[in-house]
């Protein structure tokens, strides 16, 4: 099946020995670079969104307007509730510091009604209605809200960007395929005489296609590896930013499977270019006798 990759030196001489002179390796390199960066961004976004979603999936907040005075009782009620863990109250001093950004020194006034804010985890299956009723017995205005509901718009945006990256990768792949078609047609024009002679002495379309396919596959492989190498350097330079994003969400921005996908990308691009070249050459040859 891959015999065409290992053609003899004589076969290789048929199309001349010049290599990497056309624009195709450069076009493929640029496409490979762009695809790698965009794919890495998309995969990092996907990883970040997944980590963030996982981290807040069971996290809730209890908010009580003007409930700072009831903080102790509320904490005790939550800790006593079945299924509730990791109960952390935001200290009143921190709430006042936060309010200071909007209210200035007035935030430190004893007359200011400071809300109570308590974060907690609820294990799956926990009856949050019962928990809410228990805290409302202490502070009727108490409301429990899920973190995931607040972060949902952000996660939706991240997922949209992730799909946008995926779409861009597809578009760049299509652009690379178009460049290969043009390169294949150019190569056919350049070698039209050789093709006519070969056809005349009984060469089949497949024999001729293998010659072009191999040449284009090698050009595409070199171009896509060079582009991917440049992309990898850029990604490494951005690695500190990526690890910062990872720290924000409590996990690695690029998982091991994502790294495998990125490593495979130049080879997938090469395979795509080779297949497209094969189809383009076969289609062009079919127009002759």
């Amino acid at each position: 099946m891959l015999g065409w990759l290992f053609s003899s030196a004589a076969d290789r001489r048929l199309l001349g020995t010049s290599r990497f002179r056309g624009p195709m390796p450069w076009v493929i390199a640029i496409m490979s670079f762009s695809i790698l960066i965009i794919a890495a961004t998309g995969l990092a976004l996907a990883g970040t969104a997944a980590s963030l979603g996982e981290a807040i999936a069971t996290r809730y907040s209890l908010e009580v307007p003007n409930g700072a005075n009831d903080l102790g009782a509320l904490l005790a009620a939550l800790k006593a509730s079945p299924g509730v863990d990791a109960v952390d109250a935001v200290p009143e001093s921190e709430m006042r510091r936060t309010l200071e950004r909007w209210l200035g020194p007035a935030a430190q006034s004893a007359d200011l009604p400071v809300p109570a804010l308590i974060d907690f985890d609820a294990r799956p299956g926990t009856d949050l209605g019962a928990v809410e009723r228990r805290v409302q017995a202490i502070a009727p205005a108490a409301r429990i809200g899920a973190h995931r509901d607040r972060v949902a718009p952000l996660l939706r945006s991240m997922r949209a960007l992730q799909w946008l990256a995926f779409g861009l990768v597809l578009l760049l792949g299509a652009a690379a395929a178009s460049a290969v078609v043009l390169a294949a047609r150019g190569a056919l024009d350049t070698h039209r005489f050789t093709i006519e002679v070969m056809h005349g002495i009984g060469a089949t379309d497949l024999q001729l296609t293998h010659l072009f396919q191999r040449k284009i596959a090698i050009d595409a492989l070199v171009g896509s590896l060079a582009g991917a190498a440049a992309g990898a350097v850029v990604l490494l330079l951005l690695a500190s930013g990526a690890s910062f994003a990872g720290e924000l969400t409590g996990g690695a921005a690029l998982s091991a499977p994502a790294l495998v996908v990125l490593v495979l990308l130049p080879f997938v691009l090469t395979a795509l270019a080779t297949w497209v070249a094969r189809m383009a050459v076969l289609a062009a040859l079919r127009e002759t006798l």
Partner: protein, 253 residues
Amino acid sequence: MNGALQGARLATERGREGKLPAIAEFDSVGLRYGTGGEVLRDLDFRLTNGGFYFLTGPSGAGKTSLLKLLYLAQRPTRGRIRLFGEELSEAPRESLPPFRRRIGVVFQDFRLIHHLSAFDNIALPLRVAGATDEEVEGPVREMLAWVGLADRASARPPTLSGGEQQRVAIARAVINRPELLVADEPTGNVDAEMARRLLHLFTALNRLGTTVVVATHDVGLISATPSAEMIRLENGGVVDPTGLLRNPPPRHS
């Protein structure tokens, strides 16, 4: 197809039709390019296996077009062509390469691949047929010696003289011992001595069983081969007043 099977088929044909076996049969063949008028019309003739034919006629009579039909570079726009006993006028193009490998063609402009050496040009038909480098080496060296170019094996066509290029083209055409050899004005670019040597090559091949069709204006070439038959083309039609092309007489070897 192996020789024995082919021999049996030819014998069957001879018995069935009572004629010499034909390597090519043209039946009401016409050819036009695009929307132009017919350059070949109503061609009805047969070439017997092992025959030697000169194709003559004034310039523009359609000799090159007829040769293109013979070596399967062109399809007729009407009529039927049988080659090697097979109807090929409308055969799928995928089925043509094996038949082309049974035909050697010497082009007027040689049609050598300039970036390949003389050796590689001559080796092409063998490589297309699937021969390995080792299998190619001996026959190509032998062929180079046969055409007097043993010391020019690595030379590229642009560095060869017209006569040398012609000999490389002939060596390429005959290296796989074709059943049909077609030559278009083979002496058009060579001197008289080379023309004589070329004719010697063709007759030698013909004696080995190859059917030879040579399109030429060269009267000297024709007169030097009295045993050859003539196909004269005029205005796209074959002039065959005696009907010998349709019903050739028995050959005496």
